[in-house]
């Protein structure tokens, strides 16, 4: 209500400003545009509201409730509890350990994955490589494998006795407490390198070829062009993939959930999302909602900080 009211006053304001010049026609055009804008925005707006804003609102609402009941099997009533659930979130050791675990995961895995994605994209873009179409598809294929299937497949590959590479897995237990996080990192990298490569590669294709010509005339070789022309120009794409990856890391769920049945080292609170899942299966939806809200805020802060940081660097 308030938003649409604000919109119309805004429109009137701008209309008043232009009215001195060509009053009647401008206003008609404006109204027609408004209808079109509404028609185009409505499908998105409705879906965005229903499946994004409403669930978030509902989660926030649930997180502010506590359960009251009388007797050992008394019926539960949800009453307003203020920030009770949030206090529990901040007191919950395993949850913060899980955040620490995925941060460590992200610090190692994201640069490796994006480094590989950048390398593959540059190779695809360089005139030196043959069979580009084949490699482009080959690198991308793992992304077409559903995450759960990929995790199950790798789970078997890591399995000490059943693995086709049991000569290795019998001696190095990839599913042990020390290695399982990196075993999962390998699965995630395998799945997402191709996807990130495509984003970076399409940014490379958008660079005008005159720039390369100019660089070559200045005596730059392929390596020099990649380093001094291509990478600076595709930096926005790399930043974008980095933000997607940071968000993805904090939201790890499918891979650790699958690995739980294979490995002794993956607990029910291994990642933040797994903690949320476990809590909601108690079922304690209020605490699970509070975990989710805190996780969402943490994700937002982290991505936003990264964006600001990289933008400031670019400005320099």
């Amino acid at each position: 209500m308030s938003a649409s009211a604000a919109l119309s006053t805004d429109a009137q304001g701008s209309a008043a400003r232009t009215s001195r010049l060509r009053k009647p026609r401008v206003q008609k055009v404006r109204v027609a545009h408004k209808g079109a804008i509404l028609a185009f925005v409505l499908p998105f707006g409705v879906l965005f509201g229903l499946f994004y804003l409403v669930p978030i609102g509902y989660a926030i609402y649930e997180s502010l409730l506590v359960i009251k009941r009388e007797g050992t099997f008394g019926a539960a009533t949800e009453v307003f509890g203020g920030f009770t659930q949030y206090v529990l979130v901040f007191q919950n050791g395993p949850f913060w350990q899980s955040i620490g675990r995925v941060l460590m995961f992200g610090v190692v895995q994201v640069p490796i994955m994006l480094g590989l994605a950048l390398l593959f994209a540059l190779l695809l873009d360089s005139p030196l490589l043959r069979g580009k179409r084949f490699f482009r598809l080959a690198f991308f294929v793992p992304y077409a494998v559903p995450g759960v299937i990929a995790a199950i497949m790798w789970g078997y590959l890591y399995s000490p006795n059943l693995s086709p590479f049991s000569a290795v897995t019998e001696n190095i237990n990839f599913l042990s407490a020390d290695l399982v996080l990196w075993a999962i990192a390998n699965v995630v990298t395998w799945v997402y390198v191709g996807y990130n490569m495509l984003i970076i590669y399409s940014a490379l294709l958008a660079i005008p070829t005159e720039l390369y010509e100019a660089a070559r005339l200045d005596g730059a070789g392929q390596l020099r062009i990649a380093w001094s022309v291509k990478i600076p120009l595709i930096m926005p794409a790399i930043v974008l993939t980095a933000i997607f990856s940071i968000i993805g890391t904090l939201q790890l769920l499918a891979e650790p959930q699958v690995f739980r049945s294979f490995s002794s080292a993956v607990t029910s609170t291994f990642t933040p999302n797994l903690t949320v899942y476990t809590t909601s299966s108690i079922p304690n939806v209020n605490l699970a909602a509070a975990f989710s809200v805190v996780l969402a805020v943490a994700t937002f802060i982290l991505s936003f900080t990264f964006l600001k940081f990289t933008q400031r660097k670019e400005a320099k």
Binding site: M1, S2, A3, A6, G49, L53, V54, I56, G57, Y58, I60, Y61, E62, V66, I67, K68, R69, G71, T72, F73, G74, A75, A76, T77, E78, L88, Y156, S159, P160, N161, L162, S176, A177, R260, S261, F262, S263, S264, A265, V266, T267, S268, T269, T278, S280, S281, I282, P283, N284, V285, L287
Partner: protein, 441 residues
């Protein structure tokens, strides 16, 4: 623009909060039995289960009852995801009419107000005498005028063992846990493991505690008492910790191909498990057909006659079902009729909770996979020895998760089973307090 977006978001959130308030105020207490009148006309029921081959049993019912048609929906086993679906469906108000619920999860569903008290439905209270005593105790919570589910099967525990391997290596079949530990050393000397310790399915360990006479929960009507660290439990934990420390038992995660493989290749020799476990071995270790046999579980003291129970489940009617009368009628047929119990035993090796079921011809016959031994005779003996006093807590999903996290660490050499149980104790009390379930701290 940003301010406007925030305003819209807040407004939406407020609307949601208001509508949420309007719908969530209608929970009422359920000490009395719920109304149970027949519906008019044709009734369609939905039934969610994970029992293999349930469709075939239900098909028999559907053929004989054109007016009460049951539709089977299948899912993963309870703690594998179906319980979470049930809880979500109950909150959303679209739960199926009937659901498969293991005994250990019934208190959890009752505390979440998910079960219809069927006591007022035709024939339900009278069915008490049809079932093995302890199974009825699990569905009525010790209250005379309550029935929250109809017992389906039981999981009396006995010891599956590789008769051929014990014979070939001249190792005596252990009858006490002391002998079991000695045999474990002898088996290890041949390169195998006597058994596998279940690190993530805590039900097996609960069965061991049940056999030893321990109890984890008490409910005096006013308050719960949680006791995962009583002397009996601690004794059982110390026993298995010793076997783990000496590398005398394997620790493959249960229900994985790795675990199947250990049995299929003859690396693991015995399995203390429930009657339904007969199916798990036969499907997981097909290459060992004919080599297995069943004996009573080892005892803590020579000459004792005690058995534990692992699993077993019931058919519950969820709150919100519009046809509790018809649903109860179906549940009674499913769990007491000869035709149904015979089919469930055939497709899923279920061991009936109904007394009449124990006399079925199918349960008297020899089973080829077990060298034609009449294995259910052993389970009948075990079933009669199961203590009726074991009570489950109201947050078992959480208790299992926490203890399992600790057990997993213990088999990896970090911490002990005992420490895991201590953490489970603390977290269970915390989880109950978080939902205002009265508990002694």
């Amino acid at each position: 623009m940003k301010k406007r977006a925030v305003a819209v978001a807040l407004l939406t959130a407020a609307t949601v909060a208001l509508t949420g308030c309007a719908t969530s105020g209608s929970t009422d207490g359920t000490t009395a039995a719920d109304a149970c009148a027949p519906s008019t006309g044709k009734v369609d029921l939905t039934f969610t289960t994970w029992i293999p081959g349930m469709e075939e049993t239900v098909a028999i019912w559907n053929k004989a009852n054109p007016d009460i048609q049951v539709k089977v929906q299948t899912g993963p086993n309870g703690n594998g995801g179906t319980y979470q679906n049930f809880f979500n469906q109950l909150k959303a108000g679209n739960a199926p009419d009937l659901g498969q619920i293991e005994y250990d999860a019934l208190p959890n569903f009752r505390v979440q107000d998910g079960l219809t008290n069927l006591a007022a439905c035709d024939g339900v209270l009278d069915a008490k005498s049809d079932f093995v005593d302890w199974t009825w105790g699990q569905v009525n919570f010790g209250e005379d005028k309550s029935v929250y589910a109809i017992p389906q099967d039981a999981g009396p525990m006995a010891m599956f063992y590789r008769a051929d391997l014990f014979k070939a290596n001249n190792i005596a079949i252990p009858t006490t846990w002391d002998e079991f530990a000695t045999a474990a050393e002898q088996v290890r000397a041949t390169g195998g493991y006597i058994t596998n310790f279940s690190q993530s399915d805590i039900n097996q360990f609960a069965g061991f505690v049940w056999q030893a006479g321990g109890t984890w929960f008490k409910n005096d009507g006013d308050k719960w008492t949680v006791d995962l660290t009583d002397p009996t439990t601690t004794k059982v934990a110390a026993y298995w910790q010793d076997l783990i420390d000496r590398d005398l038992v394997s620790t493959n995660p249960p229900w994985t191909d790795e675990w199947n493989n250990a049995y299929n290749t003859g690396s693991d020799w015995t399995w203390n498990s429930a009657a339904w476990g007969a199916n798990s071995i036969a499907s997981g270790a097909p290459d060992t057909a004919g080599q297995w046999a069943v004996a009573q579980s080892p005892q803590w003291n020579a000459g004792d006659k005690a058995s534990g129970n692992w699993g077993g489940s019931s058919t519950a009617v969820f709150k919100g079902s519009k046809h509790p009368y018809e649903a109860a009628k179906f549940a009674l047929w499913l769990n007491t009729s000869d035709e149904s119990l015979t089919m469930l035993n055939k497709t899923a090796n279920l061991y009936p909770a109904a007394k009449s079921g124990l006399e079925l011809p199918a349960l008297k016959a020899g089973v080829p996979f077990y060298g034609d031994q009449a294995i259910y005779d052993e389970f009948a003996i075990a079933s009669a020895q199961v203590s009726p006093d074991f009570i489950w807590g109201p947050t078992m999903t959480q208790t299992y998760n926490d203890v399992s996290d600790g057990f997993k660490a213990a088999v990896s050499g970090k911490g002990t089973l005992e420490e895991a149980l201590k953490v489970g104790q603390t977290n269970t009390i915390a989880a109950m307090s978080a939902q205002s379930i009265p508990v002694n701290k």
